[in-house]
Subunit: 348 residues, 2 copies
DNA sequence: TTGAAAGCGTTACCAA
DNA sequence: TTGGTAACGCTTTCAA
């Protein structure tokens, strides 16, 4: 048995108080019609009674709502966590409500959550997709304004998107590492069985070739409640081979495509007694708020979270409020260098 | 002009399909009534049509909803950010929806946001209050099940709460610092003009006296978009006095009552060229996920976020679903020592 | 400028 | 077990 929401004054109560019809009151409160005098009287009465429209009834009657659903892949990822927080804040500031859901790293959960969210009849959708290739997106986007963040939804041309200029970002990172003298770099990226064709991998391959560097691809499962798992996985990938070899038998730099991976690498390095950045240079691809504090010298690519949030919320609400179409906007990267170093001389 | 939410099959459509009355269908779908045969037929038809109840209409008709409003003081604070994310996740997992709002550090905004949230007619409220002494809470709590997190709402006896055993936590921190030989500690705590009487301050005074330590109270405004402000404020408080004095003219340890303050202190220390923990031991009062990575040796008090979330969501939903009353639950602290050191010998 | 009345898609009461 | 029917509180057409 669910508790009843308590009774509050209704439109009818206000109408009775001023001796007008509910319709008139409704229009007056919304400033859509009515003489100045009526509007003033109605507003005064509403204020006196402590009346506030019931958004549920309003939504039912009008078929519209001021709620936006936010669906993200995993708030265990700090970048996404802060993204969701910032999206909710921005929506609120603009007079909208956010209802949030978190697939917690499970692509298959994305569908179920999406269904749940849509059942709440939001006016629009903001999605940081786990699986941007899924079929479902087109069905959703054709019915509801949808803006994807981070990945374009390849099957849903009607959806808007805010994407990162990964090409520039990856190039900047490889340039930086090459300049420091690294020859072998571990690239830590998500392992997503259902999305075979990530452009990130192609970009990495291309840039590595351009910079004549060899790459260890380290496919890593997303962060879960148990962080030890990821640390162990990454430690295995970064560990030096058997002793006695004369060349560095391990990558001297790690390029992490997600901040949670970067933190994982820092932990793995610690467990291997590798000092960062002396023994291992670590570069993150998302600049979270305290990247400057995470170990000494975590170099990152900053995508400007505020720009991302502004672009996503901005275009969604514009579409909602004035019917403008959705588009794909691209965010430019900025490399924030914090004490990355070249490969350790003793290992050369 | 807001976009219309697209038309979907309704209860009536299902009723037509099976040749029954809407009421019967409604009961059947909820498993409240109906012969096994009817229920099966109805369910099949609903599935075939892709019918899903409209929660808006259901909420209007029944006066109940499966939505919980979450209001927090500031998601710029990482502990709160992760708390909100975890609350939303837990609610979702239990079949409820979260609508979230963030006062962004402004106590006066708390009222307005609360009004907005309540207008959405949530079934219950989860609050990490900025101003636990505000009058408004009682009015809210008497109408809606409310669980406060972090502070008991002193004026709202009907609200539940999940509070931290600050007495034990503060005592543990002072014991730890005293044992290391610190004699003067900076205590970094929020500056909240409207809440004159924080027990934390009394606790700090008491424990400092017990351990014969002197305390510098550093009242600090909450984190904002501009982090430089906080760093400067804290640097001023931690800076050594004029050179040539023989005793340490600054605190040798900082005890931060909020994680964002701890990060601020780490940044301030860096700007002052103080090495942590050699020149300054830093203790945080909230254990965020990557506290282990934030500079070398950030000792923290861990309150077990999962325990907090479980206690808060658990008791709220129990109250909502089975009418049980709300209560005050207390979370015990655990000191996580990560390389804190005593005062630097050269300063003794 | 105002108002009557018909929805919106459910749930819940009371008869059948 | 089933089905009318009246809410729920608002918005919106259409008349006045």
């Amino acid at each position: 048995m669910l508790a009843r929401v308590p009774k509050r004054p209704t439109l009818q109560d206000v109408a009775d108080a001023v001796g007008l019809a509910p319709a008139t009151v409704s229009y007056a409160l919304r400033g859509e019609r009515g003489s100045d005098e009526t509007v003033a009287r109605v507003r005064a009465a509403a204020a006196r009674l402590g009346y506030e429209v019931n958004p549920i009834a309003a939504a039912l009657a009008s078929g519209r709502s001021r709620t936006v659903a936010v669906l993200c892949g995993s708030t265990r990822d700090l970048w996404q966590q802060s993204l969701v927080a910032a999206l909710a804040r921005e929506l609120m500031n603009r007079g909208w409500h956010a209802i949030v859901a978190d697939a917690d790293g499970h692509p298959e959960r994305e569908d179920a959550l999406l269904a749940q969210l849509r059942a709440q009849r939001p006016a629009g959708l903001l999605v940081a997709p786990l699986d941007p290739f899924a079929e479902q997106w087109e069905a959703v986007a054709s019915q509801l304004p949808l803006v994807a963040i981070g990945d374009r939804l390849s099957r849903a041309p009607s959806a808007g998107a805010v994407v990162f200029d990964n090409a520039s970002g990856v190039a900047a990172v490889f340039d930086h590492l090459a300049e420091l003298g690294h020859r072998r770099v571990a690239v830590v990226l998500p392992r997503r069985p259902s999305t075979p064709d990530r452009p990130a991998e192609r970009l990495v391959a291309r840039e590595a070739k351009r910079c004549r560097m060899s790459v260890d691809l380290v496919r890593t499962p997303p962060a879960t409640a148990d962080r030890g798992e990821m640390t162990a996985h990454l430690a295995a990938a970064l560990a030096p081979g058997p002793a006695g070899t004369d060349s560095p038998d391990r990558p001297t730099a790690a390029f992490c495509l997600t901040d949670s991976f970067a933190f994982g690498v820092l932990r793995a390095a610690r467990s291997l007694d590798l000092e960062v950045p002396r023994d291992l240079s670590v570069v993150g691809f998302e600049d979270v708020d305290f990247a400057d504090l995470a170990g000494p010298g975590l170099t990152t690519v900053d995508w400007g979270r505020d720009a991302v949030v502004g672009a996503a919320v901005g275009q969604l609400l514009t579409a909602l409020e004035s019917g403008r179409g959705l588009e794909v906007r691209t965010i430019a990267p900025r490399l924030v260098v914090r004490g990355t170093t070249g490969p350790a001389p003793t290992r050369r």
